[in-house]
């Protein structure tokens, strides 16, 4: 009888352990998912935001304001991506790099790495990368958009591809 009680107690203990381990495993599987999804959301959010926010809306930034005043930015109603595309069309890649740093780096959390590419067909016109180990990253998400713009009455640039890559 003693042996039987001991056996039942042990059996109940093992059964409880199986249930607890099962629940823990299920929970662990769930907690991994937001980690990937946030990276995906980030790249799409960055490209959506940069495609909709106008340059004048970020003109409280000193660098952006100076660029408007010194004429490097001719049309503050361009969106941020259009402005970077226009810099590429006008062969002003250094200014495009500084502009990207100023506008993006304060808005993207430091734990995420980030790359912005502007391409005309297969030709890369602009490449800004913050962070490293893109090739070995476990989660790398890319979001793309089409950008274009107008320089003056007779000249239109684009369409170019803008691509944002984020990874951890």
């Amino acid at each position: 009888m003693h042996k039987k009680a001991y056996f039942f107690t042990l059996d109940a203990f093992i059964a409880t352990s199986v249930i607890v381990i099962g629940i823990v495993l299920i929970n662990l599987a769930h907690t991994n998912r937001p980690y990937e999804m946030q990276t995906a959301f980030l790249s799409q959010d960055v490209i959506d935001t940069a495609s909709s926010i106008k340059v004048y809306e970020v003109s409280d930034n000193k660098y952006v304001n100076n660029s408007i005043e010194n004429g490097n930015i001719k049309n503050p109603t361009n969106t941020i991506l259009e402005q970077i595309g226009e810099f590429c069309y006008r062969n002003m890649n250094d200014i495009a790099t500084n502009f990207t740093k100023e506008v993006f780096l304060k808005t993207i959390p430091s734990e995420y790495n980030f790359q912005l590419l502007i391409k005309n067909g297969s030709n890369i016109l602009f490449n800004y990368t913050k962070g490293k180990d893109m090739e070995t990253s476990r989660v790398l998400i890319s979001s793309k958009n089409i950008i274009f713009g107008q320089i003056n009455d007779s000249t239109m640039w684009g369409p170019y591809t803008s691509e944002v890559r984020t990874w951890q």
Binding site: K4, F8, D11, A15, V18, I19, G22, I23, L25, I26, A29, H30, R33, Q44, D48, K144, N145, I146, F148, G149, Q150, D153, S154, T155, M156, P159, T161
Partner: protein, 331 residues
């Protein structure tokens, strides 16, 4: 015996629990998989919708604007080389051909045949080809424009006023994102300012083409007198009559086919300056000077004191003497 029965029940419950855990674990995966499909479809439709909105509200308008601007300038250069167009229908036909294909007179390449290179990589069809290619390559969205069936019209009306021209373009297109398909008929409308464009009358009528760009006078109809008229001549500006008279000047677009008929909404006129004056006995309002349409305004022409000289025999007809409020200087 009784204990043995209890054991069996216990093991049955245990096995149900273990199976339950296993089922839960697997069903959880199925749940996550189908849940993940919803954002993918949602994201795809959102991307396609955003692309379509951008295409309709921005890309087509910007493309039409820049292509129309270059097409209009190309037509002006063509008129300089080949003379006036034959009429409004000819203007619309030639404008459409240049705008869409960069050709003129049913297929002549305006760049190769006439050396007018403004439309190279600037035609509207080129812009449509580029966005079709890019939407497929970048977004995996298939865009198809029906390029054989595009209607365009270039016009001036009460909506544009005398200092702008309008272009309407209607076409059919489809956008196929796989999970959603849009079939659309779209009319794109743009307005272009004529300020800065050359006046075709001045390119063809003088013995040597004169590049006389459209500039709007700062004076309104109540401000005219001999001094403002002098300034109007010196600055080579254009005036639009805002009254309801039937003696209006032709509109800017009518100047492409040398029509001197009145345009109530959009007539504009300038004065022939000293360099173009050739001593002929005509009113020096531009369209009067190069046509006989103002002969009906009275046979007598008037010199204007303070403007007319021996080297610049400036004259005005009776109608324009009154219009420019220089009756007391007319002799």
């Amino acid at each position: 015996m009784a204990i043995k029965s209890k054991k069996g029940v216990f093991f049955t419950f245990m096995s149900i629990l273990v199976v339950g855990v296993l089922v839960l674990a697997f069903s959880s995966d199925v749940y996550v998989t189908s849940k993940n499909k919803i954002p993918v479809i949602k994201s795809r439709v959102k991307t396609a919708d955003s692309y379509l909105r951008n295409l309709e509200t921005s890309y087509l308008e910007t493309s039409l604007y820049t292509s129309s601007y270059n097409a209009l300038n190309s037509l002006i250069l063509y008129i300089e080389k080949e003379g006036f167009l034959t009429g409004e229908n000819d203007l619309n036909a030639k404008f459409k051909e240049v705008l869409l294909n960069g050709t003129i007179n049913d297929g002549e390449n305006i760049s190769e045949e006439y050396g007018i290179k403004l439309m190279e990589e600037n035609t509207f069809i080129h812009r449509l080809d580029k966005i079709e290619e890019m939407s497929q390559e970048v977004l995996h969205i298939t865009t198809n424009f029906t390029k054989e069936n595009i209607d365009t019209v270039i016009f001036q009306s009460n909506d544009t006023g005398p200092w702008q021209i309008g272009v309407n373009l209607t076409m059919n297109f489809s956008v196929d994102a796989g999970v959603a398909l849009w079939n659309k008929t779209k009319t794109v409308s743009i307005i272009i300012s004529i300020i800065g464009f050359d006046d075709p009358l001045y390119l063809v009528n003088p013995s040597v083409p004169c590049y006389h760009q459209i500039k709007q006078t700062p004076f309104n109809d109540t401000e005219w007198n001999v001094d403002t008229l002098k300034e109007h001549i010196a600055n080579a500006t254009y005036r639009h009559e805002s009254n309801e008279s039937s003696e209006h000047s032709p509109s800017y677009l009518m100047r492409f086919y040398n029509s001197a008929s009145p345009s109530l909404c959009c007539g504009i006129e300038s004065m022939i300056n000293e360099t173009l004056s050739d001593g002929r006995y005509e009113s020096y309002v531009d369209y009067c000077f190069w046509s006989d349409v103002c002969d009906d305004y009275g046979t007598r022409l008037y010199n204007i004191t303070g403007i007319t000289t021996s080297s610049y025999p400036f004259k005005l007809d009776a109608y324009h003497v009154a219009q420019y409020n220089v009756e007391s200087e007319a002799e």
